[in-house]
Protein backbone atom coordinates (compact mmCIF):
# COMPACT_ATOMS: atom_id res chain seq x y z
CA UNK A 1 0.00 0.00 0.00
CA UNK A 2 1.57 3.30 -0.99
CA UNK A 3 1.70 6.56 0.94
CA UNK A 4 -0.78 8.15 -1.47
CA UNK A 5 -3.47 5.98 0.13
CA UNK A 6 -2.26 6.24 3.73
CA UNK A 7 -1.45 9.93 4.09
CA UNK A 8 -5.06 11.20 3.89
CA UNK A 9 -5.98 8.97 6.83
CA UNK A 10 -3.09 10.31 8.92
CA UNK A 11 -4.06 13.89 8.05
CA UNK A 12 -7.69 13.24 8.93
CA UNK A 13 -7.04 11.61 12.31
CA UNK A 14 -4.99 14.67 13.19
CA UNK A 15 -7.56 17.17 11.89
CA UNK A 16 -10.68 15.52 13.32
CA UNK A 17 -9.30 14.64 16.75
CA UNK A 18 -7.67 18.07 17.09
CA UNK A 19 -11.03 19.69 16.37
CA UNK A 20 -13.29 17.42 18.41
CA UNK A 21 -11.04 16.45 21.34
CA UNK A 22 -8.91 19.61 21.38
CA UNK A 23 -5.65 17.66 21.43
CA UNK A 24 -2.87 16.77 19.02
CA UNK A 25 -2.65 13.06 18.34
CA UNK A 26 0.92 11.82 17.88
CA UNK A 27 1.53 9.02 15.39
CA UNK A 28 3.46 6.51 17.47
CA UNK A 29 3.70 3.44 15.26
CA UNK A 30 3.04 2.07 11.77
CA UNK A 31 3.01 -1.69 11.25
CA UNK A 32 1.96 -4.11 8.54
CA UNK A 33 -0.57 -6.59 9.86
CA UNK A 34 -0.33 -10.24 8.89
CA UNK A 35 -2.99 -12.03 10.93
CA UNK A 36 -6.51 -11.22 12.04
CA UNK A 37 -7.22 -7.83 13.52
CA UNK A 38 -7.41 -7.85 17.32
CA UNK A 39 -9.82 -5.23 18.60
CA UNK A 40 -8.40 -3.12 21.41
CA UNK A 41 -11.37 -1.12 22.68
CA UNK A 42 -14.43 0.42 21.00
CA UNK A 43 -14.19 0.09 17.23
CA UNK A 44 -16.18 0.99 14.13
CA UNK A 45 -15.69 -0.09 10.54
CA UNK A 46 -16.31 1.66 7.23
CA UNK A 47 -16.40 -0.18 3.90
CA UNK A 48 -15.34 1.44 0.61
CA UNK A 49 -16.33 0.24 -2.85
CA UNK A 50 -15.35 1.51 -6.29
CA UNK A 51 -11.88 2.41 -7.54
CA UNK A 52 -10.62 1.93 -3.99
CA UNK A 53 -12.06 -1.09 -2.19
CA UNK A 54 -11.64 -2.42 1.30
CA UNK A 55 -12.38 -1.48 4.87
CA UNK A 56 -11.00 0.76 7.58
CA UNK A 57 -11.44 0.14 11.31
CA UNK A 58 -11.02 2.94 13.83
CA UNK A 59 -10.40 1.49 17.26
CA UNK A 60 -10.12 3.59 20.44
CA UNK A 61 -8.86 2.05 23.64
CA UNK A 62 -11.16 2.41 26.64
CA UNK A 63 -9.36 5.46 28.03
CA UNK A 64 -9.37 7.35 24.71
CA UNK A 65 -12.98 6.42 24.00
CA UNK A 66 -14.10 7.60 27.43
CA UNK A 67 -12.18 10.84 26.98
CA UNK A 68 -13.66 11.37 23.50
CA UNK A 69 -17.15 10.84 24.89
CA UNK A 70 -16.55 13.38 27.66
CA UNK A 71 -14.98 15.95 25.31
CA UNK A 72 -17.38 15.51 22.45
CA UNK A 73 -20.68 15.16 24.28
CA UNK A 74 -19.92 17.78 26.94
CA UNK A 75 -21.78 15.63 29.46
CA UNK A 76 -20.97 15.65 33.14
CA UNK A 77 -20.32 12.35 34.86
CA UNK A 78 -19.38 9.05 33.28
CA UNK A 79 -20.79 8.56 29.76
CA UNK A 80 -22.78 5.39 29.16
CA UNK A 81 -21.44 2.59 26.96
CA UNK A 82 -24.10 3.47 24.40
CA UNK A 83 -22.93 7.09 24.19
CA UNK A 84 -19.30 5.97 23.92
CA UNK A 85 -20.15 3.61 21.06
CA UNK A 86 -22.17 6.32 19.28
CA UNK A 87 -19.31 8.78 19.57
CA UNK A 88 -16.68 6.34 18.32
CA UNK A 89 -18.95 5.62 15.36
CA UNK A 90 -19.35 9.31 14.60
CA UNK A 91 -15.61 10.01 14.98
CA UNK A 92 -14.97 7.13 12.57
CA UNK A 93 -17.46 8.64 10.16
CA UNK A 94 -15.67 11.99 10.31
CA UNK A 95 -12.13 10.59 10.05
CA UNK A 96 -12.96 8.31 7.13
CA UNK A 97 -15.18 10.93 5.48
CA UNK A 98 -12.40 13.50 5.57
CA UNK A 99 -9.88 10.94 4.28
CA UNK A 100 -11.99 9.82 1.36
CA UNK A 101 -12.67 13.44 0.49
CA UNK A 102 -8.93 13.93 0.03
CA UNK A 103 -8.60 10.69 -1.96
CA UNK A 104 -11.54 11.59 -4.16
CA UNK A 105 -10.09 15.02 -4.85
CA UNK A 106 -6.95 13.20 -6.05
CA UNK A 107 -9.05 11.44 -8.67
CA UNK A 108 -10.18 8.19 -7.05
CA UNK A 109 -13.91 7.55 -7.44
CA UNK A 110 -15.58 5.32 -4.90
CA UNK A 111 -18.49 4.95 -2.53
CA UNK A 112 -18.39 5.15 1.25
CA UNK A 113 -20.77 2.99 3.25
CA UNK A 114 -22.16 4.06 6.64
CA UNK A 115 -20.01 3.19 9.66
CA UNK A 116 -20.90 0.12 11.65
CA UNK A 117 -19.82 -0.81 15.13
CA UNK A 118 -17.17 -3.49 15.03
CA UNK A 119 -18.11 -5.82 17.85
CA UNK A 120 -15.99 -8.91 17.14
CA UNK A 121 -12.91 -9.38 19.31
CA UNK A 122 -11.01 -10.70 16.31
CA UNK A 123 -11.58 -9.15 12.91
CA UNK A 124 -11.07 -10.25 9.34
CA UNK A 125 -7.68 -11.01 7.81
CA UNK A 126 -6.22 -8.71 5.22
CA UNK A 127 -6.61 -10.29 1.81
CA UNK A 128 -3.94 -11.10 -0.73
CA UNK A 129 -4.77 -8.01 -2.75
CA UNK A 130 -5.38 -5.74 0.29
CA UNK A 131 -2.35 -5.19 2.48
CA UNK A 132 -3.29 -4.14 5.98
CA UNK A 133 -1.59 -1.23 7.70
CA UNK A 134 -2.08 -0.48 11.38
CA UNK A 135 -1.46 3.09 12.53
CA UNK A 136 -1.26 3.82 16.25
CA UNK A 137 -1.83 7.37 17.49
CA UNK A 138 -1.18 8.43 21.06
CA UNK A 139 -3.45 10.98 22.70
CA UNK A 140 -2.83 12.75 26.01
CA UNK A 141 -5.10 10.05 27.42
CA UNK A 142 -5.16 6.69 25.65
CA UNK A 143 -4.53 5.57 22.08
CA UNK A 144 -6.35 5.33 18.76
CA UNK A 145 -5.69 2.64 16.16
CA UNK A 146 -6.52 2.86 12.48
CA UNK A 147 -6.49 -0.46 10.66
CA UNK A 148 -6.51 0.16 6.91
CA UNK A 149 -7.06 -2.67 4.47
CA UNK A 150 -7.73 -1.15 1.06
CA UNK A 151 -6.51 -1.60 -2.48
CA UNK A 152 -6.80 0.26 -5.76
CA UNK A 153 -8.89 -1.71 -8.22
CA UNK A 154 -7.84 -2.32 -11.81
CA UNK A 155 -10.42 0.19 -13.04
CA UNK A 156 -8.57 2.97 -11.25
CA UNK A 157 -5.21 1.94 -12.70
CA UNK A 158 -6.36 2.59 -16.27
CA UNK A 159 -6.05 6.35 -15.81
CA UNK A 160 -2.94 8.07 -14.52
CA UNK A 161 -2.89 10.31 -11.43
CA UNK A 162 -0.70 13.09 -10.27
Amino acid sequence: MNMELIQPFINSVDAVLSETMRCSPRMADVTMEQGSYQRTGIAAQVVLSGEIEGRIILDMDAIAAGQAASDFSEITGAPTDEIIREIVCELTNMVIGNSVTQLNDRGFKFRVHPPELFMLDVGPHGTLDSETVLLRFELPKGAVYLNISVHVTSAAMVGSRT
Binding site: S73, E86, I87, E90, T101, N104
Partner: protein, 146 residues
Protein backbone atom coordinates in the same frame (compact mmCIF):
# COMPACT_ATOMS: atom_id res chain seq x y z
CA UNK B 1 -20.19 31.81 22.06
CA UNK B 2 -23.58 33.57 21.94
CA UNK B 3 -25.56 33.69 18.71
CA UNK B 4 -28.20 36.23 17.70
CA UNK B 5 -31.37 34.11 17.35
CA UNK B 6 -32.23 33.15 13.78
CA UNK B 7 -35.64 34.52 12.81
CA UNK B 8 -37.57 35.42 9.70
CA UNK B 9 -40.03 38.29 9.18
CA UNK B 10 -43.15 36.41 10.22
CA UNK B 11 -41.67 33.59 12.27
CA UNK B 12 -40.18 34.02 15.71
CA UNK B 13 -38.35 30.71 15.37
CA UNK B 14 -36.89 28.95 12.35
CA UNK B 15 -37.93 25.29 12.28
CA UNK B 16 -35.32 22.66 11.42
CA UNK B 17 -35.48 19.06 10.29
CA UNK B 18 -32.25 17.27 11.27
CA UNK B 19 -31.36 14.15 9.26
CA UNK B 20 -28.41 11.94 10.21
CA UNK B 21 -28.09 8.20 10.81
CA UNK B 22 -25.99 8.83 13.91
CA UNK B 23 -28.15 9.58 16.95
CA UNK B 24 -25.20 11.32 18.53
CA UNK B 25 -24.60 13.52 15.46
CA UNK B 26 -28.30 14.46 15.42
CA UNK B 27 -28.23 15.44 19.09
CA UNK B 28 -25.08 17.44 18.52
CA UNK B 29 -26.60 19.33 15.58
CA UNK B 30 -29.88 19.83 17.46
CA UNK B 31 -27.92 21.35 20.33
CA UNK B 32 -26.30 23.82 17.92
CA UNK B 33 -29.65 24.65 16.31
CA UNK B 34 -31.12 25.43 19.70
CA UNK B 35 -28.10 27.59 20.52
CA UNK B 36 -28.86 29.51 17.29
CA UNK B 37 -32.42 30.12 18.53
CA UNK B 38 -33.95 27.58 16.15
CA UNK B 39 -36.60 24.99 16.85
CA UNK B 40 -36.40 21.27 16.04
CA UNK B 41 -39.39 20.36 13.87
CA UNK B 42 -38.26 16.76 13.55
CA UNK B 43 -35.43 14.27 13.26
CA UNK B 44 -34.82 11.40 10.85
CA UNK B 45 -32.17 8.68 10.58
CA UNK B 46 -32.26 7.94 6.85
CA UNK B 47 -33.41 9.40 3.54
CA UNK B 48 -36.76 7.63 3.43
CA UNK B 49 -37.68 8.78 6.95
CA UNK B 50 -36.49 12.29 6.02
CA UNK B 51 -38.94 12.52 3.10
CA UNK B 52 -41.83 11.40 5.32
CA UNK B 53 -40.80 13.74 8.10
CA UNK B 54 -40.49 16.66 5.66
CA UNK B 55 -44.04 16.07 4.44
CA UNK B 56 -45.30 15.87 8.02
CA UNK B 57 -43.54 18.92 9.39
CA UNK B 58 -42.75 21.19 6.40
CA UNK B 59 -39.71 22.69 8.12
CA UNK B 60 -38.07 25.99 7.15
CA UNK B 61 -34.71 24.31 6.70
CA UNK B 62 -33.36 20.76 6.49
CA UNK B 63 -29.88 19.76 7.68
CA UNK B 64 -29.15 16.57 5.73
CA UNK B 65 -26.36 14.00 6.11
CA UNK B 66 -25.21 12.22 2.94
CA UNK B 67 -24.01 8.72 3.83
CA UNK B 68 -26.99 6.97 5.41
CA UNK B 69 -28.62 3.53 5.22
CA UNK B 70 -31.80 2.81 3.20
CA UNK B 71 -31.58 6.02 1.17
CA UNK B 72 -28.67 8.43 1.00
CA UNK B 73 -29.06 12.15 1.58
CA UNK B 74 -28.55 13.27 -2.01
CA UNK B 75 -31.35 11.02 -3.25
CA UNK B 76 -33.61 12.28 -0.45
CA UNK B 77 -32.87 15.87 -1.54
CA UNK B 78 -33.98 15.02 -5.06
CA UNK B 79 -37.29 13.59 -3.80
CA UNK B 80 -37.99 16.46 -1.41
CA UNK B 81 -37.15 19.21 -3.92
CA UNK B 82 -39.22 17.51 -6.63
CA UNK B 83 -42.31 17.77 -4.41
CA UNK B 84 -41.35 20.98 -2.62
CA UNK B 85 -39.26 23.22 -4.89
CA UNK B 86 -39.09 25.83 -2.11
CA UNK B 87 -37.34 23.38 0.24
CA UNK B 88 -34.25 24.82 1.83
CA UNK B 89 -31.73 22.02 2.38
CA UNK B 90 -28.16 22.23 3.68
CA UNK B 91 -25.99 19.13 3.40
CA UNK B 92 -23.96 18.31 6.52
CA UNK B 93 -21.51 15.49 5.90
CA UNK B 94 -17.97 14.37 6.61
CA UNK B 95 -17.69 13.29 2.97
CA UNK B 96 -17.08 16.58 1.22
CA UNK B 97 -15.57 15.82 -2.16
CA UNK B 98 -16.43 17.89 -5.19
CA UNK B 99 -18.55 15.29 -6.97
CA UNK B 100 -20.73 14.88 -3.89
CA UNK B 101 -21.12 18.61 -3.33
CA UNK B 102 -21.89 19.22 -7.00
CA UNK B 103 -24.39 16.38 -7.10
CA UNK B 104 -26.18 17.67 -3.97
CA UNK B 105 -26.34 21.21 -5.36
CA UNK B 106 -27.61 19.95 -8.73
CA UNK B 107 -30.37 18.05 -6.94
CA UNK B 108 -31.45 21.22 -5.16
CA UNK B 109 -29.44 21.53 -1.94
CA UNK B 110 -28.54 25.13 -1.09
CA UNK B 111 -25.21 24.67 0.67
CA UNK B 112 -22.74 22.17 2.06
CA UNK B 113 -21.08 21.99 5.50
CA UNK B 114 -18.31 19.52 6.19
CA UNK B 115 -18.08 17.68 9.53
CA UNK B 116 -16.73 18.21 12.10
CA UNK B 117 -19.05 21.21 12.16
CA UNK B 118 -17.73 24.45 13.60
CA UNK B 119 -20.69 26.25 15.22
CA UNK B 120 -19.64 29.75 14.13
CA UNK B 121 -19.27 28.78 10.48
CA UNK B 122 -22.45 26.69 10.62
CA UNK B 123 -24.44 29.64 12.00
CA UNK B 124 -23.18 31.94 9.23
CA UNK B 125 -24.05 29.41 6.51
CA UNK B 126 -27.58 28.94 7.87
CA UNK B 127 -28.03 32.69 8.13
CA UNK B 128 -26.80 33.10 4.55
CA UNK B 129 -29.07 30.37 3.22
CA UNK B 130 -32.09 31.83 5.00
CA UNK B 131 -31.32 35.31 3.67
CA UNK B 132 -31.20 33.82 0.17
CA UNK B 133 -34.59 32.28 0.78
CA UNK B 134 -36.74 35.16 2.08
CA UNK B 135 -39.97 33.30 1.31
CA UNK B 136 -40.73 31.29 4.45
CA UNK B 137 -41.92 27.73 4.01
CA UNK B 138 -45.72 27.29 4.03
CA UNK B 139 -47.43 27.08 7.41
CA UNK B 140 -46.70 23.71 8.94
CA UNK B 141 -49.27 21.02 9.51
CA UNK B 142 -48.53 21.20 13.23
CA UNK B 143 -49.12 24.96 13.36
CA UNK B 144 -52.28 24.72 11.30
CA UNK B 145 -53.72 22.27 13.77
CA UNK B 146 -52.83 24.20 16.90
Amino acid sequence: MEFKPLTSEDKPKIRFLVVDDSVFARKNICKMVEAFGGEIAGEAGDGIAAIAKYNDTLPDIVLMDITMPKMEGIEAVEHIVRDHPEACIVMVSSVGYQDNILSALQKGARHFVQKPVKPEAFYEIIRYVLSENPEPAPTTVGEAQS
